[in-house]
């Protein structure tokens, strides 16, 4: 997937979200340039995950608007987001436990499917050719993330780090324009973290995918991201290049300092 013509891929305007009156996000606005890796940081409960959920339509904000790939919406619906090329991984892995690695990755291709289910079960018409094409693409993603040794293993039985990678593969299989990663390196050791950030960098370079990621490890974020947004208690307190953010006194006070 190549980045669309306009340089700003995603713009959030004054987004607010609350559950049963409890404010999770308060009038947050920021931009993500096409081709950037953008980091969302902030203490737990700062509303980072909620923000991702707003971007890909899992939650519906009470106010504000989302401009994505040239279209402005009051709110994003999950399938609109998916069809618009937004893919996502979750904080606590949301893989399909009962399925093999390959099948999980293949589910990521479902929006690219053209043949009807009838053709598929009768194995008629374009279905078999299409199945091959999707398998090939899935295999390329699997090779890219180096999970081919576990191709036919049930994901439920894989170690945590690998599951994270499989989930990334599933997201990547849909050839996303925008990739939302919710703590892709949570609970990993330094080595795994390095590997994972290498993968993310490669994805961003090879496929030109724009990435928005949440990460607690400041070192990783500063090393990986072109652009960092800092949240605290549902508010935006910092926004800019890693250097600018590191310099921002409010940020230091609220987050880096502590």
């Amino acid at each position: 997937m190549h980045a669309p013509t306009e340089t700003v891929l995603l713009r959030l305007d004054d987004i607010s979200l609350s559950f049963k009156g409890i404010k999770a996000i308060t009038s947050i606005s920021f931009e993500v340039k096409a081709g950037d890796i953008c980091g969302l940081i902030g203490p737990n409960g700062a509303g980072k995950s909620s923000l991702l959920n707003v971007i890909n339509g899992v939650y519906q904000p009470q106010s504000g608007s989302i401009r994505y790939a040239g279209q402005t919406r009051r709110r994003m619906r999950a399938h609109q987001a998916a069809e618009g090329g937004i893919a996502r991984t979750f904080q606590n892995i949301a893989l399909f436990k009962g399925m093999s690695v390959l099948d999980n990755v293949l589910t990521g291709r479902n929006l690219k499917r053209r043949s009807s289910w009838l053709e598929q079960i009768l194995r008629l018409g374009r279905a078999p050719r299409e199945e091959d094409a999707h398998r090939l693409h899935a295999e390329q993603v699997i090779a890219f993330l180096q999970i081919h040794p576990w191709r036919h293993v049930l994901v439920g039985t894989l170690p945590y780090g690998l599951q994270k990678r499989v989930e990334l593969a599933r997201a990547l299989a849909s050839e996303p324009t925008l990739l939302l990663l919710d703590e892709p390196m949570a609970g990993m050791n330094a080595e795994e973290k390095a590997q994972m950030s290498q993968f993310i960098r490669d994805i961003n370079r090879e496929y030109g995918t724009t990435v928005v990621l949440i990460e607690h490890d400041i070192g990783v974020v500063m090393g990986l991201c072109d652009h960092v947004v800092v949240l605290d208690y549902g508010r935006k307190i910092g926004d800019g290049t890693p250097q600018q953010v590191r310099a921002n006194p409010e940020v230091i006070a609220a987050y880096l300092g502590s």
């Binding site: 559950f19 049963k20 995950s49 959920n53 899992v58 979750f90 904080q91 949301a94």
Partner: protein
Amino acid sequence: MEFFFEVLIGGLLAGVMYALVAIGFVLIYKASGVFNFAQGAMVLFAALTFVSLLERGVPFAWAFLATLASMVVLALLIEKVVLRPLVNRPPIILFMATLGLSYMIEGFAQFLWGAQVHGLDLGIADEPLEIRGMLLSQFDLFAAGTAAALVLALSLLFNKTRVGLSLRAVADDPLAAMAVGIRLPRIWALVWAVAGFVGLVAGLLWGARLGVQFSLSLVVLKALPVLIIGGFSSIGGAIVGGLIIGAAEKIAEIYLGPIIGSGIENWVPYVLALLFLLVRPAGLFGERAIERV
């Protein structure tokens, strides 16, 4: 109009009987998150045991106590043999387990006491009673009274005793409850025992109404829509739901029956429940959780 109210109140009173079964459900669902399909079987077992004891010349009070004791034993067994091994399994598995359970209990009850129909007389004259020109069944009134008493007792148990407190704790958050040293198994056994007691009362009333027989265990099917409307986790809801279903059923029977035909009471409650669901997916009183991802 008179007649309508007569029907309505008749229905409401009948609804109380449904509520009785539903309460047993709610108790167990609240405490252990189990959707206990075996509740009907427990009703049957209780009634059958009680009646058979009576027929063997055991005095009423003793028969009642003996049955109660057997229900408690049953509860303990269930907790040990079924619930404990299945702890933290997905709810659907637990539900299916209770299906198996209901088969076992039904089979056992009939194996023990035989399958023939027993009459049960609680000594309440069932000639209609005229109040303000409306004919009401004395028995229904009695049933309603019993139900009211039962609910009162339960709410006391829950709100005034330590057991009740820990029970509510478990209902709110099992892990936290365990953390503060509440022993889940004991609570579960207790709740199932209480549910057994509720089942016994329901069994007696229903038994006196329909005669004690296998079909008693089918009252569970009446209780389901009640739960849907009331929400699985609220005793108040169970009662309100029961009343609504009872009334709706009677009214439908009287006013709709002649038009589309008899025997509709089997499905009217379900259709009603469905309509409710489409409006309020978690029932009237059930609380709805936000999905965290």
